[in-house]
Amino acid sequence: MSVLFHGNGPAISIQDLGRPGQIAAGLSRGGAMDRLALFEAAALLQAPQVLPALEVPGFGGAFTFQTTTRIALTGAPMAATLDGSTLAWNRTHLIPAGAKLTLGACVHGSYGYVTFAGGIESPVHLGSQAAHLMAGIGQVLSPGAEICIGADPDHDAAQMGLVPDARLDGGVLHVVAGPQTDLFETETQQAFFAATFTKSNRANRQGIGLDHPSLKFGTDQAAGLASDFIMQGDIQQTGDGVPYVLMAECQTMGGYPRIGTVIPDDLPKLAQAQPGKPFTFKLISRDDAESRSKSEADILKGLRAKVAPVVRNPADMSDLLSYQLISGVTAGHDPED
């Protein structure tokens, strides 16, 4: 059972939740840039746990299905058609054998995800199927690639949809202090947490730069610092003080000083915004950060409660696949903005 990729998107890869616990070996966790999109797909497909998915950055391409299966489309909405009919995002679709799925550009956001109801069958390295391109594990899909998928456990399941948490338009990134926060002068910290940045073009699976029109946020203590452990979410001040937030495929050690760490639950927001979207950093206490962080089990439980069958109107049969249950996209601003 497989799906054939005809090509176009240059950076599509298989992603799951990555490989925790390998820091001593020099391998960062990796995994999906927008982990929440994988949980949403699991909830939509009523899967017992997160399934590996195709991460589709920016632009998709064409796929022919050689078997009938449900899929979930989550993350950044893309212009999607099935044999020419528009497909709505943030819901499941039953794809018949022989049908052709075409994914265009992201309409909004940066990373779309295609999850197959029976999962993907691909080599497992250190407990994960995720490509970690920096480390030389796995690769991007090349044209002509055949993606082996598992059998859909329930073809007949009703079509499901959900309204995702808004996370495509920038906003507030909550930050906890880290081991090097105190290397920065108080004034620098105050200016940093008061400033509004825009997401830069320097954005990939390793990290994301943020631009400020005039200010720099460096520290005199940067020179001679020993390389130390760095992690996803850390805000490095590179060069003379330009923030760069480490993402899924970051290195495990680095020598740039770090002003703090973006909490894990806010990283999808940074991953998904397109360049130019506005961001501010807000320093919060560790207790506050913990109260905002949910366990993976609780995230999945919460999303399952939000998933609902798509209501079909027989009078609209020709538009059925593109029928919007509820608008899937809202302005992504935190209440405190």
Partner: protein, 249 residues
């Protein structure tokens, strides 16, 4: 050696699920010895709820499963462990294993050798002799999978990174800066001096043992000619490049 107030070990949070025990902010050989000893202590007598331990040049990272209650318990246990002894006076442990790795130095296989030798105040010939006479140990693994920071070389090798980034250095390259050597894991840019080439690939995903180097290993480098290295690189199915491994204890 004078004791620095800033070198009293401190425990600091890293993100939501880890703590860092920081022995110092800047690298010094005795701090790395303390880090290794503390990691060995934690591995030999694990602290409950700790899921991952790793040592850098100056810090030990301890990851735990849970929230603030767990953090408080792990932090208290780490503090008790730190108080058990003076970690700044730990003797460097005897090595566990020794690798001897063939290297072709200079010319096309190490274009920055002359620059590095000059910065260290040596001729190329003396530099190669000195580097091959020095046993270096695995200080830590990091940056990329299986990639080891090796050191420490004698103080004359405390040479800075180059002003210009070398845009692409191949896997197996031997690079040098700030009293340390690295055998490069993957082709990547670097600001370190590219002084030689080995056929030693520290990380090969499909190999039975994907990661070759580990804490407690020491390395020696053995000079070979460019033509011998070319032959080795052309026939290197195991990614060892002719390296020999002795188990010492």
């Amino acid at each position: 050696m004078s004791s620095h107030a800033s070198d009293t070990p401190v425990i600091l949070p890293l993100g939501l699920t880890a703590l860092i025990v920081r022995f110092g902010l800047k690298a010094r050989p005795e701090l790395t010895v303390a880090v290794r000893a503390f990691v060995t202590d934690l591995e030999g007598d694990p602290i409950d709820e700790v899921t991952q331990i790793a040592g850098s040049l100056t810090t030990v990272m301890v990851e735990f499963a849970g929230g603030s209650d767990v953090r408080a318990r792990v932090q208290a246990a780490l503090q008790a462990r730190l108080s058990r002894r003076d970690w700044s006076t730990v003797a460097r442990p005897d090595p566990l294993r020794r690798w001897t790795i063939p290297v072709a130095f200079g010319d096309a296989f190490g274009p920055d050798l002359s620059k590095a030798a000059q910065a260290a105040g040596m001729t190329e010939t003396n530099a190669v002799e000195d580097l091959c006479a020095t046993e270096v140990e695995v200080l830590t693994l990091g940056f990329a999978p299986g990639q080891a920071y090796l050191g420490f070389l004698d103080p004359q090798w405390n040479i800075p990174r180059m002003a210009e980034i070398n845009p692409s250095v191949p896997a197996g390259a031997l690079i040098l800066a700030i009293r340390q050597l690295i055998v490069f894991t993957n082709e990547n840019p670097t600001g370190w001096h590219h002084i030689g080439q080995t056929g030693f690939l520290p990380f090969v995903l499909d190999r039975t043992d994907p990661i070759l180097l580990r804490g407690g290993d020491v390395l020696r480098f053995a000079p070979v000619s460019a033509s011998e290295m070319s032959d080795r690189l052309a026939n290197n199915p195991d990614g060892l490049g002719g390296a020999k491994l002795e188990v010492l204890r």
